[in-house]
Symmetry: C2
Subunit: 454 residues, 2 copies
């Protein structure tokens, strides 16, 4: 019988995260202090993040040991399966071999636990009693709720309002693990109140939710820190367990991908699956294409500008060098809430600029159609975010068919869609559309960026 999926025994789980910064031909430019325009020193970030996370943020070591308490918790769900998508291949009648890494088997249904666990652990070790964070679709907030509960840390989550309304079960999940959840923009912060004053119906964005979560740290700076689910170097670092496992699992399948695909919000699942394979490109002469797939209605990689910009809407964070749509770009209310972010993260942006990775944008309807085909052929209902990776994999497989060339495609199934079913229900009912971003709208948003960069 054909092998459908491969898991690794616990004894073979990765003992180290891979830090791609150590192998990049051009390292990311440093974050800047928005006032002085000088590089931010690590100690300046210690008020916001746990010290070990700041150390990792600036690290250039190629490998960083995964602490034992983190490895213990990873074992709740890792290794995740690497699966050959025979059903999808057959439906597409493609000569391509399609594999996916199934991160949806985590307790919250996505890859986000990979970094939530170490972030909660390092904060706990430092004696932090309270964390704040933002969440889009709720995957990240759920992961932090689970991890904070484990390490006895109180958690306050600002959830983008449109997702708060669309995905009530995510809030319930966070509550079950004891976290406090607010719809963002909220009246709890100055940033939120200002946004609501401008537009009482503001449906929120990840950038705004970050502003609110950061502002709350200032209330009790001694024992409170902030944590972020994507974008930053240390977050992507933790996610590399995905790709490290996948490398070993592909070897056990006796195959190797020529294309690796991840959906793209801020870069965490993309970097997680992609960076270990990119290392093989950079250090062992492999030529795998590494493709980031963004939502066409939030196209920072394919239509954004490489610039220094704030990580949040209100401008509380340092300036980061990244592909951005401008920090006050307001994305459409697509169901893939995790992709509604204006920027791309320093590492991924530098890699894209250097031509070491590729980017594609896929419209909402194509992704949901891909998600349904996947559910019906592989039996798993994907998160709308992950459906972007599936849509791109389908495009690549179709191209392989047209060209008549065998291909090996690997994508990351970053999460399941069991709590995002409204997206599919509305799609099947014909109620959804493809939101478009006009050149004019994009230019206006990017023009507002100019004065910041000076």
């Amino acid at each position: 019988m054909k092998t459908k999926k491969i898991l690794l025994p616990e004894s073979q789980l990765p003992a180290q995260w891979y830090n791609i910064v150590g192998d990049m031909p051009n390292r990311p430019l440093p974050p800047l202090d928005p006032k002085t325009r000088r590089p931010v020193m690590p100690e300046q970030m210690n008020g916001l993040f746990a010290e070990e996370l700041v150390r990792q943020e600036f690290s250039t070591e190629r490998y960083i040991d995964i602490p034992e308490p983190v490895r213990e918790l990873y074992k709740i769900y890792r290794s995740t399966p690497l699966v050959r998508a025979y059903g999808l291949e057959k439906a597409l009648d493609t000569p391509a071999r399609i594999y996916f890494k199934n991160e949806s088997v985590s307790p919250v249904g996505s890859h986000k636990t990979n970094t939530a666990i170490p972030q909660a652990y390092y904060n706990h070790r430092q004696g932090i009693r309270r964390l704040t964070t933002e969440t889009g679709a709720g995957q990240w907030g759920s992961a932090m709720a689970m991890a904070c509960n484990h390490f006895g840390i109180a958690l306050e989550v600002f959830m983008v309002k449109v997702s708060y309304m669309q995905k009530p079960y995510r809030k319930m999940m966070m509550n079950t693990w004891g976290a406090e959840v607010h719809a963002s923009p909220s009246t709890l912060t100055e940033a939120g109140r200002a946004a609501l004053a401008r537009n009482p119906d503001d449906s929120g964005s990840l950038g705004m939710a970050i502003s609110e979560a950061v502002e709350r740290v200032f209330l009790n700076p001694e024992q409170t820190r902030y944590c972020l689910g994507s974008v930053l170097n240390h977050v992507l670092l933790h996610q590399t367990v995905i790709g490290e496992e996948a490398l070993r699992q592909m070897e056990l399948f006796d195959d190797y991908p020529d294309t690796v695909i991840g959906c793209f919000g801020g870069g965490s699942n993309f970097g997680g699956i992609g960076f270990p394979f990119l290392r093989e490109n950079l250090t062992h002469g492999r030529k795998t294409r590494i493709i980031a797939v963004e939502a066409r209605s939030c196209p920072k990689l394919t239509r954004g500008r490489f610039e220094y910009d704030f990580g949040d809407t209100a401008g509380f964070t340092p300036l980061f060098p990244m592909y951005t749509l401008g920090h006050d770009f307001h994305p459409s209310d697509i169901h893939a809430g995790g992709l509604r972010y204006h920027g791309a993260g320093p590492i991924v942006s530098q890699l894209l600029r250097d031509g070491l990775i590729e980017a594609q944008a896929v419209p909402q309807l194509e992704t949901l159609e891909a998600g349904i085909l996947f559910a019906r052929t592989e039996g798993i209902i994907p998160a709308p975010e992950s459906a972007h990776a599936i849509a791109a994999a389908i495009r690549e497989a179709r191209r392989a068919g047209e060209e008549g060339t065998p291909r090996t495609i690997l994508f990351n199934l970053s999460g399941h869609g069991q709590i995002d079913l409204l997206a599919y229900e509305r799609f099947l009912a014909g109620e959804l559309r493809d939101p478009e971003v006009s050149d004019e709208e994009l230019r206006r948003s990017l023009d507002r960026l100019a004065p910041i960069v000076g």
Copy 2:
């Protein structure tokens, strides 16, 4: 580092189901035709179920081969992990070692796919184009929707109304796989219309949903069949993959359970985890306690009567020998919708009567409290049904602590609760209560049973 969980490679997945009927000292009494009171012949059931399923229903062979297409689909999610619950053990400060089999990793979030896949397969092989079924909490309907979609069979699901309202995402999930879903009682059938005439606010029951699904088969008897998610012998047979895997996994942990626990609705996940261990009791002198845990508000095992009774409310099915509360017993609207069934299934009933298994009843609040403790210590939010098994495991672990004896407890985590979060939300808000069944109510229900048995 300590081993947290063990999975089996695909090459070691069970190739056969285990049929406990072949080892039972007293085999279950035969089902009876309600009109003639004579044993039902297999061919009489062929109009309702696929022929191979009827053959299995009456089989006394100890092992039945799992067909290759079924094994292929099992590989989407099997083996499921066997996990040592270190977190729960620590929270309970117990000398007991607690393990759980994690069936929640299936694509629909529960063990129900184990029998949905073979049921859809055998119907497909026979040329059946349309299936009908009932579902309580929606786990079974989702599993059949996924399986029917795979084999190109149209599916119509009657979902108990209280669950239909409480768990809208389950309906969306079934729709995503292309199934048609009705709240039961519905106006589509005579049984449903009669129930609504008696009480327009009837919140439904599994027994009523079965009546409606069975009635729909008569509309197009040539190409339509019915399928059932629990109770019957062939359903429990398919579920034994759970226990067969668990036996091997316990061996790899170098341990053996003295107590095996499953929650109990109609018997499918309980039989699945329990029967292979019961075989070891019957044939190899093991003395493992096998405990079925029911909802205290639907107590057929602990307070019901052993009798011939209908499997459904309207009386369309044969009479089955089982512990029952009477086929028109109306269970309270507890959140564990999958346990709201009046009867117990012929095999389990006979085993209980013969003292080969035990039964316990647990109230709703204790189960949800257990579910939250489990979510907070093991990271997985359990289905309210599965939380009954957890509650019983906690009781056993506490007793081990009081007695100061080490114990090895294994329970089945039949499903996750990510789509049942309303139960926990309401529990945390203090809105839930423990419904009670009075002796008087029970006597009335059982007295109505008497004339049927004659």
